[in-house]
Symmetry: C3
Amino acid sequence: MDDSIPSGLLKEWKIGDNKLKKFTSVEDVNDIDALVKKALAYKVNPLKDATLGINKRIGLLFLNPSLRTRLSTQIAARNLGMEAIVFNVDKEGWQLEFEDGVVMSGNTSEHIKDAGPVLGSYFDILCIRTFPQLVNREDDYSELFINAFVRYCGRPVISLESATLHPLQSLTDVTTITEILQAKPLGRKPKIVLTWAPHIKPLPQCVANSFSQWMNAWKGTGEFVIAHPENYQLAEQFTKGATITTNQDEALKDADFVYVKNWSTYEDYGKIYENDPAWMLSLDKLKTTNDARVMHCLPVRRNVELSDDVLDSSHSIVTQEAANRVWAAQAVISELLK
Amino acid sequence: MDDSIPSGLLKEWKIGDNKLKKFTSVEDVNDIDALVKKALAYKVNPLKDATLGINKRIGLLFLNPSLRTRLSTQIAARNLGMEAIVFNVDKEGWQLEFEDGVVMSGNTSEHIKDAGPVLGSYFDILCIRTFPQLVNREDDYSELFINAFVRYCGRPVISLESATLHPLQSLTDVTTITEILQAKPLGRKPKIVLTWAPHIKPLPQCVANSFSQWMNAWKGTGEFVIAHPENYQLAEQFTKGATITTNQDEALKDADFVYVKNWSTYEDYGKIYENDPAWMLSLDKLKTTNDARVMHCLPVRRNVELSDDVLDSSHSIVTQEAANRVWAAQAVISELLK
Amino acid sequence: MDDSIPSGLLKEWKIGDNKLKKFTSVEDVNDIDALVKKALAYKVNPLKDATLGINKRIGLLFLNPSLRTRLSTQIAARNLGMEAIVFNVDKEGWQLEFEDGVVMSGNTSEHIKDAGPVLGSYFDILCIRTFPQLVNREDDYSELFINAFVRYCGRPVISLESATLHPLQSLTDVTTITEILQAKPLGRKPKIVLTWAPHIKPLPQCVANSFSQWMNAWKGTGEFVIAHPENYQLAEQFTKGATITTNQDEALKDADFVYVKNWSTYEDYGKIYENDPAWMLSLDKLKTTNDARVMHCLPVRRNVELSDDVLDSSHSIVTQEAANRVWAAQAVISELLK
C-alpha cells in the first residue's frame, strides 16, 4: 500500500499494525483468576458494560459446526454493545488456503493472506473456528490456520477452537469450578480428574489439551490427574505437570471434579485404537469420588461417553458449564476491547 | 445442579421452572379474536411496543428450510426491540436426538435433554421448526420433537411448524380473513373451504391440520368445508366439526374463502395415492363461489396446485396473507413477553 | 388485492407502486463522481448518517456464495442505522423459479412472482446475488433473474452481482482509483488496463463486463484498454469505446492501473479455450507500466491469476479495494434510502 495515501482516508489494516492481543491459548492470559472474576461478575450483571463495544463489530468465522460457541460468543458481544456478524466460511463463502507460496490450482479459492487483511478492515475483533484435519499431526500441531489468521488479519483474534486448543471452553471450565467452590468451599484445593471416554468417531484432542493446559497453569488446581487407556496419551507440551494414569478407578478416588471427554490418539495420530465401553462414566463409578461434580463440554453422546444416570443426576454440571460460556466469552471480548 | 449455589449467580434454567407459556397449537390460545386484534393493531403501528422486548433475546432454531416463517418472526421480534438470533441446527450445528434412553452411537450427536437447557440459558424465548419424517405416523403425531423441546428448554416456545401443526400460519390466516371481512363485511359468517391440491412430492399435513383446527375453534367461522380426493382424509382430532367431502365443485359453491393446500395421505401414511390435475384450483372453478378470496401458505407450485390465472387475479390474497405473518408473529411474541 | 381495503391497514406492496430506484448497472447512476465522493466521505466518517436508515430493513438474498459483498453490504447498512437480514435462498429456503407461465413440476419450489411481493412486504430495500448458469448465453444476458426480482418485489433493489454485471464492485473500483489519484495526482487522466488472467474454472464475465461498462461511462478514465487471448472477447454492449488487444505486453505499457480478472468465453459461451499461464500477471510484466497499481476483485487464485510477488508488493491495492466495498455500498444504500 502506498504510504503517501493520507492515513485519514485509510481504514484498512497495514502490515506492522499487528501489535495486538489475542486469545488462542492460556499463554495469552496474564491472570486467570482475574479473568474468571470478570466472567462471574458478568453473570451477576450481564449488561454492566453494555456500551463498551458500541459502534464496534465482531466477526465470527466458522470453518466447522458450532452451537454453544457460536451462540454464546454472539450473545457475549451483544451484551457489550457490539454488532456481531456470523459468517460460515465453508458454506457461505469458499475454502481458504493457508499454505504459503502454493500454486492455487486446487480446491481452495482464496488465500488467508488476501482474506485476512480484508476481514481485518471490516471488523474490530475477529473470531475463528478451525478444526484439525486429524490426518497429519505436524500440520495440525503447527496451528497453521489460526496462526496465519492472527498474522494476516491484523486484529485481535479469539479462537473459537483451533486445531489443538479450545481456550474459551477451558476458561469457562475454570470459571465453573471456581463458581462451584465459591458457593460451597472445600477448605482445600480440589482434586480434578480428566478422564477419557469412548466415542464412535475420532475426535480432536483440543478440549483435553486445553483443559490440561489450563489446569496446569491455574493456581486454583490441587491435584490434576489425567486417566486414559493405553496409547491415548496427549501431547506432553500440554499435560506436563499432571499425574497420568491408565487406571480410571484410581484416578476417580476422592475426585472433586471429573471432566469427561473423548479424544483420538496423538502418537499414531487421529485413530481410534480401542473403544472399551468400560471407560464410559457411570453413576456407580462416582461412588469413590468426593461427591464429584461431572463436567463435559457438550455435545455429549449419552450412554456412550456418559451414562444417562450421571447426566440426569445432581452430579452433572454440564448445563451450568455450557451456560457459563457466555460470561467467559464476555470477559475475553471485554479485555480485547480495551 | 447444586441447590446451595446462590440463585443470583445462576442464570441457567432449572427443572421445575417450566411453568411457562407456549404457542404450539390453537389449544395454547385463550382468545383467538383478541390475538387477531392485536396482530392487526401491529399492522397499523408496527413499532408501538418497540421497547417491550428490550434486552431480551429470541432464538430461532431451524431443522428445516424456511423463508416467510424465518423472516417474519425475525422482523416481528425486532419490532418489539428483541435481539433475534437464527440458528440452522442441521447445517450450522449437528443432528439432535429426541428419543429417551437411547445409546447414542448413531447419527445424532446431541440429545435435546442436554441442548434444551443450554439453549434455555441463552434465550428468553425459543422458536423451533421441526418437520415430520413422514415415515411413521405414530412418531410424527406424538410430536416427540417439539414436546421434548418444550419440556427441556424451560422457556416459552413458539412452534415455527412442527410435525403436525403450523399455528403461526393459522393465526395469520384467521387474521387475514378477519382483515378482509372488516374491510368489506358480509353481514354473515363466511363459508370457508379448505381444498386439497395436487403436488409432486409427499408433503406434511401440518398446514391443513392446523387450519382445520383453528377454523373449528374460531367463532368467526360460518360453514367450514374440507374437500379432498378419496383416501386423503386428515386426522379426525383436527377436522372434527368440519363438513368433509370428496366433491370439490360442491364444496366451492358459495364459498367466501378458498384455502388451497396439498397434503400427503394420513391413513396409509405419507403417500401420494393419485395426483389428479383436475384438483388444481383454476379461475373457472371459482365461478360458483361468492367471488371467493383464494389463500395459500406459500410456497406454491404454480400450475400444479394453483393456476397462474388464479394467482395473478384479484381473487388471490396470498401476498397479503404472507405479509401478515409478521403481525401474527408479533402478537404471539408480545404475549409471551408479558 | 381488494382496493376497498383501507390502505392504512395494508403494508404490502401493490403492483403499480413500482416507480422505485435500483442499482443494477452503471445506467442506474446519474453522476458517478458524486457517488464516489459520497463513498469517500463515508470512509472518513462512517457514522455520519447513522440514523438515516433507522427503523428500516434491508434484506440480503444470496443464491450464491459471497464473502466481501455479503459482509460489506451488511456493515454499510448497519452504519446507516438499518437492520440487515441475510437470507441464503438456496441453503435456508428453496429454489426459485423465474420463468413465466411454467408448470412448476420440477426442482423449483416457488415463483419469484410470489416470493418477490412477499419479500417486498418484509423489507425496505432488497439486495440479491444471482450468478449466471454459463449454459445458455441468451438466458444469462437477458438478466431474467434480477429483472424479475426488480419487477416483482416492488422495492429498491441492489445487485450483489447478477448474471452479467457486478456494479457494487465497479463503483468500488472507481472509488479506489479516485482515492489513489487524489492522494497522488498524475496531472492527467490515468491509463487503465483490464487484463484477462488464467483460472482453473469457467467464471462469469460479470466483473469484467461491469468494469468495462463503468470505465467507458466514467469521465475520469483516460485510456481504457482491454487485453485478452484470442476468442475471449467480451460483449460489445459493455466494451464499446475501449481499445481491445490480444497483446498483453502492449496493453501494460505506461499503464497506471492494471485490473486483473479471469472470465470464460462469451462467443462460444461459458468455455475455457486455453489457459495460457503466460497471461498470469507477474512482477516482471509491471516493469513497463507507470509503477502501476494492481487491482483484483478477490477471491484471487495466487500464482494462477496473479503471482505472489505482485500481490505481496506495493503495487497491489487489492486490500484497499476490498475494504472500500463498505463505503461504495454505503453510498448506494444511502441514495436509495432518500
